[in-house]
């Protein structure tokens, strides 16, 4: 309970961060409850009711196929959540072991971290695009492509924080008492990585939204029949003057989600151990 309240304090102190948290919970609930709360089928077409302005029946209007924009925006939250969770999961599952192993076994680390540096020689979006060419299009491959980009930053942060931890007196004390590497890693280093990585996760989640939206917009992400916010924006382009609301709602959802995640990340960082703040401030972004 103490742990929970210590995480909640920064949110109660900053009202804006609290708003971010509330919005985020809202997006998650919308994604989970999409089939229950959507007024229409997001894929149901209505040729007679195309490009309707927002009205009482269709709060967010309809698109060029007469599909309900509100329902599609709500279903879009599902994909946003899937992409965010997938990218964070992949980046953490690969980046954290690379970072920790590199600190514990400096010889291996030298090679692994050089490889990570090498991957960072490729600009983020270009790396993702190159991977899409190799892997092919689709939601899973978009997650992998963006995940690889954030694998590098996650590994870097894990490495620099773990390196600091390794030099701490409590780790040294553990070692002098005869603890082996495995013990030090699981009992001393990894538990202390949780808070900085939680902050990193919130930023990666936010950047994953923007990255996935860009891929969808370029036609290289989720297949066009899936209602994602990026796909909706790509389609809205052709009706930009006739139906500007089609441009507004999906874009606003991307901004709201990414902005909230950034607010939450900032609040979490503020409660973080000051020793790790610099690492995250400088290396969290690719």
């Amino acid at each position: 309970m103490d742990l929970l309240s210590s995480w909640l304090v920064p949110f109660l102190k900053h009202r804006l961060s609290l708003c971010g948290l509330v919005v985020l919970i809202g997006v998650i609930l919308a994604a989970l409850l999409a089939p229950v709360i959507t007024p229409y089928d997001p894929l149901a077409m209505d040729p007679i009711g195309r490009l309707q302005t927002p009205n009482m029946a269709h709060w967010f209007g309809t698109d060029h196929f007469g599909r309900d924009t509100l329902s599609r925006v709500i279903y879009g939250a599902r994909l946003a959540l899937l992409i965010g969770t997938g990218v964070v999961g992949f980046a953490m599952a690969t980046g954290v072991p690379i970072g920790v192993l590199s600190v514990l076994f400096p010889r291996v680390g030298n090679v692994l971290m050089r490889l990570v540096d090498l991957m960072m020689a490729f600009p983020a979006l270009l790396l993702a695009l190159g991977l899409i060419v190799i892997l092919g299009q689709g939601v899973t491959n978009a997650i992998l492509a963006i995940g690889v980009v954030y694998l590098t930053t996650t590994a870097r942060i894990t490495y620099s924080v773990a390196l600091r931890l390794k030099a701490e007196t409590f780790v040294e004390a553990g070692r002098s008492m005869g603890a082996n590497t495995w013990w030090l890693a699981t009992r001393h280093i990894i538990p202390n990585l949780v808070s900085p990585l939680l902050v990193q996760a919130s930023f990666v989640f936010a950047f994953a939204q923007l990255g996935a939206a860009s891929l969808d917009f370029l036609g290289l992400g989720a297949p066009p029949d899936i209602p994602s916010w990026g796909n909706m924006l790509a389609e809205s382009r052709r009706y930009i003057t006739r139906a500007p609301w089609l441009l507004f709602f999906p874009g606003a959802m991307i901004v709201l989600t990414a902005f909230s995640l950034n607010l939450v990340g900032d609040a979490l960082r503020d409660r973080l151990d000051p020793r790790f703040r610099d690492e995250l401030a400088n290396k969290g972004k690719p």
Partner: protein, 320 residues
Amino acid sequence: MLLNFFTSYAMRRTGAAAVTMAAASVIIFAFIHLIPGDPTYVLLGDGATPEQAEALSKKMGLDRPIVVQYFTWAVNVLQGDLGKSLFFQAPVLEIIADGAETSLLLAGITMVWVVLIGIPIGMLSATRQGTAVDQTASGLAMLFASVPTFWVGLYLILIFAAWLGWLPSSGYPSIFEEDGLYNLRYLLLPSLALAAPNAALILRLTRASMLDVARQDYVRTARAKGIRPWQVTTRHIFRNALLAVVAAFGFTLAGLISEAVVTETVFSLPGIGRLVVQSILRRDYPVIQGVILIIVMLYLTINLGVDLINRYLDPRVELE
């Protein structure tokens, strides 16, 4: 003496960049081989005849060990031969050069916006820390850092091109054609869209860096000596805070190269970024490989340049 230290740093830093480039070139070479399918058909397209395939296979030395193939490719690249585009049936380097003017001008104008918006507002925000001005500027900066550039771009098109009719919404005729420099107006909206998140980043950084420097002892000393507050801000705080900002410029400029992919697509600009996307959609693999190579080279060169400038400005900077 100082110059000697700098020269030694510059040589080590340049060497490190060359090693990274060499290593990156291996990955870029492997790219064609990682795409599912026979590399000759990947490069020639499915419509290639067996004779053409055999000729290319011979040129690339596909029957020889992979290491030899890499060096054959690397020698070709060093001689400016990046292969031939499947779609345009022209040398890849020529096609990339065609898009260079647009992309470089776009990046240049964007950087002007980033500097003009990011630095002054960041300074203002730092000198008025905690006030409504600071909170508004910081809030907006964070908001713009969360906005997809293409969304900003589409809104700029809607407002300034479609509704007001002040500026063109797409395309870019070269400044060497009719109307000359007046054609730069085509890049105004794209550069603003591209600048939005980057100016936000520089604003936040300028603010944070100035606040950090303002806490230093020498600033307190300067104040104690009775130097006027604006002089302390400009001469003592700003100059030192600029170091971190200059480092971020390289970061931003390099980032622009890949972010431009989306912006050039939104505004249908004939640049390198749009070329990548179209080549991916056309499966024009030699062009994709060439563009990746050129962009990575640019990216590493910019980062190298910025590191050298930074070390020149601040001799305390060391290699990581």
